[in-house]
């Protein structure tokens, strides 16, 4: 049973436009949600997070939205840049114990010039 799902394996967006990456989850006990970005042959790097008590968090070009009733979160990148081309993973964890992250399958974002 996959608790965190990213249903779009890939997404292609024009440079300068908005990229929207989506993530759904089933476990209502998750306390934090994170987005990681991964380039080939590198490890994931942290991008942005949101607590379950908030519905929006913004950091520069990146905004994460959380809809708890729908168990859905999304990452918006505005404007999209060629360097944003990467695989994006959403992840979640509960605060009991260590940060045991549960990851989605990832979405490959390609920004076209």
């Amino acid at each position: 049973d996959q608790q965190v799902k990213q249903n779009s394996p890939s997404l292609s967006v024009q440079e300068g436009r908005i990229s929207i990456l989506n993530c759904d989850y089933t476990n209502s006990m998750f306390d934090y949600f994170l987005w990681y970005k991964k380039y080939p042959a590198e490890g994931p790097t942290f991008l942005i997070s949101i607590s379950s008590i908030k519905d929006k968090n913004e950091d520069g070009r990146f905004t994460v939205f959380l809809n708890k009733s729908a168990k859905h979160l999304s990452l918006h990148i505005v404007p999209s840049q060629p360097g944003d081309s990467a695989v994006y993973f959403c992840a979640a964890f509960t605060i009991q114990g260590a940060q045991k992250l549960v990851f989605g399958q990832g979405t490959r974002l390609t920004i076209n010039p």
């Binding site: 490890g43 260590a98 549960v102």
Partner: protein
């Protein structure tokens, strides 16, 4: 400023062989983790540690053992490698209130 360092970066094993993957972090983090990533799947937690001398099972622990004898190191062992353990292995570390930092991975092939 190394962060999280994994060794080796690549390895090919034969079925039944054993090996140890080493993870070292220089950020004085309490928590350390081992994940595996398989094609079309996200990262899955194998084992983790919340402090020196402690380890615990994650989502997919079978066939693996770990040790955390020093705070900065977290070792992942395969006692008898199987083709199903062919994967990319990632180590991560964090303090309790900060997001995890990942190493660049070890690509392991088992023939």
């Amino acid at each position: 400023n190394a962060g999280v360092t994994q060794t080796p970066k690549f390895r090919v094993l034969k079925t039944g062989q054993s090996m140890t993957l080493l993870c070292a972090q220089d950020m004085n983090h309490e928590y350390m983790y081992w994940y595996r990533q398989d094609p079309g799947m996200g990262l899955r937690l194998i084992h983790y540690s919340v402090g020196e001398g402690t380890t615990a099972k994650g989502e997919v622990p079978d066939g693996y053992n770990v040790s955390r004898l020093k705070k900065q190191n977290f070792l992942l062992g395969l006692e008898s490698a199987a083709p199903s353990q062919t994967s990319v292995y990632f180590c991560a570390s964090s303090s309790p209130d900060q997001p995890q930092h990942f190493g660049d991975g070890t690509r392991l092939s088992i023939l």
